[in-house]
Symmetry: C2
Subunit: 270 residues, 2 copies
């Protein structure tokens, strides 16, 4: 099964568009985990075990592991999801982008070393920087389009012949870069109007939607504007709002409750 087939299976089976962002911070995880050999993995494992029936995907962000040299915990986390919770795809949020020959090595890092099912990539370097990812037909390639941060407008809103740059990127993604049907877009929930606009431009392409919760996106508007006609088409990510919902020994149970609430809230607007 390719990434989009696996994702569609998870959407249906768990009746969920929710993605949990596995962004563990050594300073925020419960004390009793900090001294373990693989603290980030152990934190993730507990959360995965109690949320895998509620989500359509997991999304670890590479920076959390790379900042402190715990790439091993990232490898373990992805392997654990694949081994113990088959059918839930893993998106590696790496935002890679480099010239062709180097992009091939990043594709190797993401898909062969970490064995992720999909990856986020940056479009600024153009087509040949995306090709080594796009060529992996069974993998998802999630291109940054309109990101969720305040500075997104600096470059992404520049007008190119009367049309904002993020719209140009969306159209290129849909019309030029999606030859293998494995392209998705990142569109932040913090810009629900743009979500609707991009949906109108690209048909049924799937969106990865960060920015709800801590970043302040409006969930109702985001779902209404971003969904496809069949009520799917979105992978709605929450990281901090889920994984730090509670502290202490019961952190994973608190995460489950937060995930369940958010899943249900999303479903009310689908």
């Amino acid at each position: 099964m390719n990434f989009l087939e696996t994702l569609t299976g998870a959407w249906r089976r768990n009746n969920s568009l929710l993605c949990v962002g596995l962004d563990p911070d050594l300073e925020k995880i419960p004390d009793h985990l900090r001294s373990l050999k693989s603290p980030l993995f152990e934190f993730n494992r507990a959360i995965i075990d109690l949320t895998s029936d509620l989500v359509c995907a997991y999304k670890p962000q590479t920076a959390f592991y790379a900042a402190i040299g715990l790439e091993r915990d990232l490898e373990q986390t992805i392997a654990y999801i694949h081994d113990q919770h088959r059918g839930i795809p893993v998106i590696l949020d790496a935002k890679r982008g480099d010239i062709g020959s180097t992009a091939g090595l990043y594709a190797q890092e993401v898909f062969d070393r970490y064995k992720a099912d999909a990856v986020t990539v940056n479009p600024y370097l153009g087509r040949d920087a995306l090709d080594p990812f796009l060529d992996r037909r069974d993998k998802g390639v999630i291109i940054l389009c309109r990101t969720s941060n305040p500075g997104a407008s600096d470059i992404q809103d520049l007008e190119v012949k009367g049309e904002k740059l993020y719209r140009v990127v969306a159209r290129k993604a849909a019309q030029e870069w999606n030859r293998n049907g494995n392209v998705l877009l990142v569109v932040g929930a913090t810009y629900p109007r743009e979500l609707g606009e991009i949906r109108a431009l690209v048909g049924n392409m799937t969106f990865l939607v960060p920015g709800i919760g801590a970043q302040g996106g409006d969930l109702e508007k985001a779902v209404i504007n971003g969904k496809t006609q069949d009520g799917t088409g979105m992978i709605i990510n929450s990281s901090r709002g889920i994984i730090y919902a509670g502290g202490g020994k019961d952190f994973a149970r608190a995460a489950r409750e937060a995930a369940l609430r958010l899943k249900d809230e999303i479903n009310r607007y689908r």
Copy 2:
């Protein structure tokens, strides 16, 4: 000393604008190194020891280490340059770019974990994604402007109110993002006309210039168009053309000869 001061010292002391790209590929390094515990580091060390009087900087590319899980070799390489060849700055070619909170972790990865002196970053996410890097006043922040690859034109040449996007990025970098005086630009040697244009836009800002050698850039035009009035302002990178100049036991000596030739050729055009 901050990055630009260290760089200026190396330019003068070694009379060189040459940067050697430390991009070791396990399949291309000599056989006798492959079975060592730290094969990429050992390869780099030999090259560093024989070229450190000929260069103004070293530039390891993270993908070569990350693709095969040898981050440790990257850490060792940077530590070795700082310990044994003080005064030669290290640019980590990571092309990072993520939203503010995550960008802070990438800055931690690059500057605290790896202890690089400068880093390449992607401007697509805008100001707040750059801030955690820009805030590190003693470090260099090298923003992708006009990259050296064939697909660079897909996004970077889009016209924003009659002006190409890479020019908008260059101006924003010079006027809005350089509050701490630590911003540089990536401008590929494969586009010498654009090098001259960007030089005219941004005054004495320093350029990291990839794309000579294997990528086919015209060195003479690149230097003439890219240099500042005092004959500096450029960090001209070569990777494959130097590090794979020769094979077998004498690989490092061949690298030295190639570096010397290239340094001298650059100096003829300054």
